[in-house]
Subunit: 334 residues, 4 copies
């Protein structure tokens, strides 16, 4: 039985408590939040769960095996560090930390102490992304050529991180989950309309040694909501539209072949459009699967799907993107 | 009566002949193309129009007042130069030329000789773009904050120019038509999957001194077709979806206000979503309006809507974008 | 303080308890259901609410002022009758009863005893329908000419009533709410694929003395889900698409004028298409507003929006439609 | 070589001349129309085609083997009769004639004289309908259970026939093409808003001995355009949306099984939703295939796809529907 303590009971908190409560071999021992009214909600819904406004009562407790950290990003590192140092396994909400250095330090402590550290990139547990992973792994898509994400809406401006830190981690983690190629550099541009240097519209290109390109378009100031991912392979292409209630993934038997016309020294391109296939996608709650993976990897000492390596790579890309934006879009090597 | 000669009778040629034939105070005198079978089509449809495989029969003809150049881009400059030097007004298909230098030289000759030189950015004559221009000019949109274009499809790879040169001119010309602010620099990234260095997927950011950002996403290798433009102002936002048969423009009474909370030193943001308005848009053929503007500006010695200044600015941005792509996305000042 | 007892804790039960608990001047006193496991859910979520498997403990209780009946339709009449006879106000889930006779008898008892009887046609409390009501009442739409509803999906086959009884009440109640004209007759056709005489696909036309027509298309066996209402007036037309998350209502400045050409003895028709307007619609929970209306009408002795007269008219149309289906679609006068 | 004469050069005329000109073993000999300005268009586009304002110059000409009749419906019968009596094969635009009696008389003459009579139900030659035919014939769909058509728009009011005669023939011909079952009766309802008894909104149910139902919703007064066909089989279901540029047909692996629960005497239903498949559909011009079928069936003395039997059945259903509408929707046996 893994006894979990949860620090931070904001927007995401109730979902975490509900799902960890439902996972086998797991119990929610305690929840902490500095807001009394939030703790009252916990007590009402889960009378047996201990509540506290002092996170140390979780971090130092002998009745807690694992700590889930669902606070604002800036608090991730100190809380996680203390948890690890006190022998607790750690689950961090995304993004993992504010800096690469922090993430690497946490991973070092975890490794040294034999503890699990994991990041909640929930999307990796959705039926849709699992389906896409299968289509990439079994060769249906072929060699990936581009990955194009649009994640825009009239959104909740974050006070401390820009729109890339807020919205891009979802799709960056999906990209890293799907491929084994390593990104080599990034370029990012953006603009802030809030006079505080925090970009609310931003664009990120992730470059690879191979002829693969990944692009992320993020905005908190769009009148329309988009959650769209286009993935092109040299065999097939697909679109993942997360706003579609059932037809989330469309696989296009679409492609082109190019050959160099030696005589005329130019490239000839043949196009092909064919059938479209919309696979049924499992609709189980992704957060439950994430919680279950965390608990089961603690018990079985395995590596979770949404592991710290992916979490760290996401931070590397975000940190580099911030450097690029502040330097007028120049390439930042990873 | 303006006598027009048309050089190049490819995909766009029949549309040009049909529309210039319909314009008042204008007649199509001659068409040239080096392909005999194309000229046969002209003769069949327009028996009274002279055809020739030698462009000089148009460029040097005393029966021609104005020359329309609808050839591949690389031929624009020599043909236009000869036309101007022989006292003809010139209309160039987009993009104007292959380089900024060429465009500037042509404009210099035209100015010196008192001739009209104009670029066919047809979109500026569509009912939709004219409507958007009105909404910008009358203050409905407010101060423009972002301009976000997606123009992707499974497209006709061009053999000599990349996807930005092919697809971005439409939306760049719209941007320049709408605003009086001057772009200051660009960043561009892209990838070629055809082993010839010609990018088939590319992204372009156009930067301004003010907190306005413009972004262009272009692809010849998308399984879905998009022709979408999002424009955000500080009063309203709009979406132009050119694939919608009738509901092309949606105006969102959507916005946000931010104020700095002095005490807590953070930015507070209020959101507002309201009604949506879909104005009726005139559906007349834009190419006719463009042809009519060309002829009428020759006669009345006026400046056309789609003038050479816009054409030149488009080339400046494209040339800079190419420089940026080849230099790993670095900022290129305009 | 109105003390409410709820009979039936099925699919809709938790929503009823939650909303009645939130309404001012109202408390949920007791919930009854014959299934022990359902009652356990009540106790867990609402420890202070009394639970019982015997509805009489609600119907005869001195601690209950009003009874909400959320059972299968066949049980509506006996439960409501007993409630009224014991001096309780009654709210019935839709459809009100299985027959017109039952509905009329209940209304008679309520009138005689000075009690409120009301039917939960929740749609009448949605922001969208309230907006449409305004557009009809203020003359925006003009004289209503047609009302066309499609409500289809791969649905929950009901064991005792056909698809019209299950799905049409929503849109029939909306129709009756919007207009003051009285329907005069109905025609209905349908088919059963379940060998039990219960139609799973059915079509209903409701006729009026005036040149207004209403049509309802209902199916439990469609691969796609539709929740669409088209309303045509002689001034404007509108579409209500309840599946749209935000753009639920579109108002079209569309119409036509006809005049009789005396000489040629034929009708000439002019078309007009204009702007489209998507009003912002309030998104508050409709069920809360319904519950609040019930409680407040008990206290203030007023008539609710979703009153028994509408409930009865819905049953009259359903009963007639069933008669029509079983008689090969013949007209059944109301 | 089949020499074709075309009577009527209205909206559809240019398409007919263009396609018959392109068909092998066929030549367009003459076109007649009583409007001089229409004939001038023919002469300009096709200088070699004879034009005349007197249809007899086609009907009685020795240089004409086959007559295409593209006039208003009321003129179909007299023109076709005269053509057949003069030994010409006949192609009629849809609907075939104004009455069943006329259609039967024409078919009798044609049979007696060994001439081909055919109706232009163009939809039967589209790639989409041919694909659907394959899916029905090869058992993919299973036993057809319902056929539900919506064909509505802000349309061209016809001066002499109602909206069912105008719009329903397309989908009725598709229905008859797909199945071998015979319709047994119809019910129809509708309304006229033009004070001339010509319905502009109408609904038609076509009944079968088996548990198959077909329904047609037609309107000339809708603010939105729909061209949708839902077909449900006991194995799969499909939607044909003719307004989709490429994704015209969606095949849903969706269904349900019902079994009677003997003990509880009720029907239990299991639902199944699965993958969706969008087959590529051939985009060749259907009218060309229709013209080719006409010519080739004349030469090879075969039966065309869009044969007179289907044309006649369509008229039977339309005539019965008119009878039903005028008799308050009563069932009219076919």
């Amino acid at each position: 039985m893994v006894k979990v303590g949860i620090i931070g009971y904001g927007y995401w908190g109730p979902n975490l408590v509900r799902n960890f409560s439902a996972v086998n071999d797991c119990t929610v021992a305690a929840v902490s939040d500095f807001r009394k009214e939030r703790l009252a909600l916990v007590s009402k819904a889960y009378p047996s769960v201990k509540t506290t406004s002092d996170p140390d009562e979780i971090l130092l407790s002998k009745d807690v095996d694992a700590v889930v950290i669902a606070t604002p990003v800036f608090a991730h590192f100190p809380l996680a560090k203390k948890a690890l140092e006190n022998g607790k396994h750690v689950l961090l909400e995304k993004p993992m930390t504010s800096t690469v250095k922090e993430a690497e330090e946490l991973m070092g402590i975890a490794k040294q102490k034999g503890l699990l550290i994991m990041v909640d990139h929930t999307f990796l547990y959705t039926g849709a992304v699992r389906k896409i992973k299968t289509l990439v792994d079994d060769g249906t898509i072929g060699e990936m050529q581009y990955f194009d994400s649009s994640r825009i809406n009239l959104g909740l401006f974050q006070p401390d991180v820009n729109v890339l830190w807020d919205l891009a981690p979802h799709d960056i983690s999906i990209l890293l989950y799907l491929i084994s190629k390593k990104p080599t550099s990034v370029n990012a541009t953006g603009v802030s309309h809030t006079k505080n240097g925090i970009e609310n519209v931003a664009y990120l290109t992730v470059n690879f040694k191979e002829d693969l390109i990944a692009h992320f378009s993020c905005s908190w100031t769009s009148p329309v909501k988009l959650r769209t991912l286009l993935i092109g392979g040299d065999k097939k292409m697909l679109m993942f539209n997360d706003l579609e209630p059932t037809e989330k993934i469309k696989i296009y038997d679409t492609g082109y072949n190019h050959k160099t016309d030696e005589e005329k020294q130019r490239v000839l391109v043949d196009y092909r459009t064919g059938d479209i296939f919309i696979p049924k996608v499992e609709m189980k709650e992704a957060l439950y699967a994430m919680a279950d993976d965390f608990v089961s990897c603690i018990i079985n000492k395995k590596e979770p799907v949404s592991n710290a390596t992916i979490g760290l790579e996401v931070i590397k890309i975000l940190e580099a993107s911030q450097h690029s934006i502040k330097n007028n879009g120049k390439e930042v090597v990873l």
